[in-house]
């Protein structure tokens, strides 16, 4: 806890977002398929396929997660949210069988984040969704740990490409632990170095000079 360099506000992970986290803002910009359960007068221009003045009740459209969350009400029917495929029963069965074969980046890239956020919408399937998210994380933990620690000295780039955002962040914290240890082993840990920012700005300057 003694680094003075830039550390962004971390994402909330799970059902709560962190207000100031850029990651959470990007996650909550993911679009969800919804169906309006009432009409939205004077906002027809938001729905590109129609040229009516209002968004009528029963319109199927996509809204970002943050807006769906903001409009959704348990008691009053304002809109209903469709569960993205990857959280439905068919895919849940696949995940439960072997979470390691799934390309979570392609299915996500916010598999855990968006899945947790979906629990805000009162679906009867919520307990199963939450359970699958948890079991998927646990099931993939060993592979992710071993590769982030380079346990097998293999090329990990293919594996990293298949990680979801959350796993990627964990992977890089594992890698930085490994790098710190390896640079210590090589006797480099006590070398005083220029700050990465200074180095980056210098690199940029050099690039600027090149035609």
């Amino acid at each position: 806890m003694d680094t003075q360099s830039y550390l962004p506000v971390k994402p909330g992970v799970g059902m709560e977002e962190n207000f100031l986290s850029l990651d959470d803002i990007l996650l909550s910009h993911e679009r969800l398929p919804i169906r309006t359960e009432c009409s939205f007068p004077r906002l027809g221009f938001l729905e590109k396929s129609s040229d009516s003045h209002d968004i009528p009740e029963g319109t199927k459209m996509e809204l970002p997660l943050w807006l769906s969350k903001g409009l959704y009400e348990k008691k009053r029917r304002v809109l209903s949210v469709e569960l993205p495929k990857v959280y439905r029963e068919g895919w849940r069965t696949v995940f439960n069988a072997d979470p390691n074969v799934v390309d979570l980046h392609k299915m996500g890239p916010y598999y855990y984040g968006l899945g947790s956020q979906m629990l805000h919408f009162d679906s009867p399937e919520n307990p199963e969704i939450a359970q699958t998210l948890l079991q998927t994380f646990i099931g993939r933990f060993r592979r992710n740990m071993d590769s982030s620690q380079n346990a097998y000295n293999e090329d990990t780039s293919a594996l990293v490409e298949r990680l979801d955002c959350l796993e990627k962040a964990l992977f890089s914290s594992g890698q930085s632990g490994l790098n710190s240890f390896q640079s210590w082993e090589k006797g480099r840990a006590s070398q005083l170095t220029a700050s990465s920012l200074v180095l980056n700005y210098r690199k940029r300057k050099i690039n600027d000079l090149q035609p």
């Binding site: 506000v9 910009h29 903001g70 170095t193 220029a194 200074v198």
Partner: protein, 196 residues
């Protein structure tokens, strides 16, 4: 859809890796504020109509615009706060005087925030240990030896060490200097620590 401008600001920061500070996007900020103003005005109109004419069917749209207002507020606050975190880190990386190309990317209020932050930090460090003072921007890594071998990466002029000796820091020259005198210069990329 609303709030797209605000998302652009967020993406712009997310693309700037390793804490680099992109130019302050005054134009983007203004556009978001304009969108907020117009959302607010539309809502004022609809709220008045809903009240006076009893048009409660307007409520869902009012709510939707209000969500967008809050979203814009969040994005702008997060944009500005994240920039502060980046700017704050600069104090440790560059010392108290920022290079011109970094300052150039800051807006006037950020420059003000930074100079107030520097002041707070300085008076904090001065008052440490019952007023004795300690520079905690030094000693970033465990010490290994009193003196270290360094190479100059650029011409930097003269450097006085504590016994009064003056050393000329000329590009490519090598020196054996007290570690604590070099730390900041190494971080700034003036000197390079040569390991034996």
């Amino acid at each position: 859809m609303f709030c797209e401008k605000a998302m652009e600001l967020i993406r712009e920061l997310q693309r700037s890796n390793e804490g680099q500070l992109p130019a302050f996007n005054e134009d983007g900020l203004r556009q978001v504020l304009q969108e907020m103003e117009s959302l607010y005005e539309q809502n004022q109109t609809d709220v008045n109509e809903a009240k006076s004419d009893g048009r409660s069917e307007l409520i869902p749209s009012i709510k939707l615009r209000h969500c967008c207002l809050l979203r814009n507020q969040r994005c702008l606050t997060a944009y500005l706060y994240d920039r502060l975190l980046r700017i704050r880190a600069l104090r440790w990386e560059y010392g108290s005087v920022l290079p011109a190309n970094v300052r150039f990317h800051m807006c006037a209020e950020e420059v003000q925030w930074f100079s107030q932050y520097k002041k707070s930090l300085a008076s904090f460090m001065r008052s440490l240990g019952g007023g004795e003072g300690l520079d905690i921007t030094q000693d970033m890594k465990p010490p290994k030896s009193l003196y270290i071998q360094v190479r100059c990466l650029k011409d930097h002029g003269e450097l006085e060490i504590d016994d009064g000796t003056v050393i000329l820091l000329k590009k490519n020259s090598q020196h054996f200097l007290p570690r604590w005198k070099c730390e900041q210069l190494i971080r700034q990329g003036v000197l390079e620590h040569v390991m034996s």
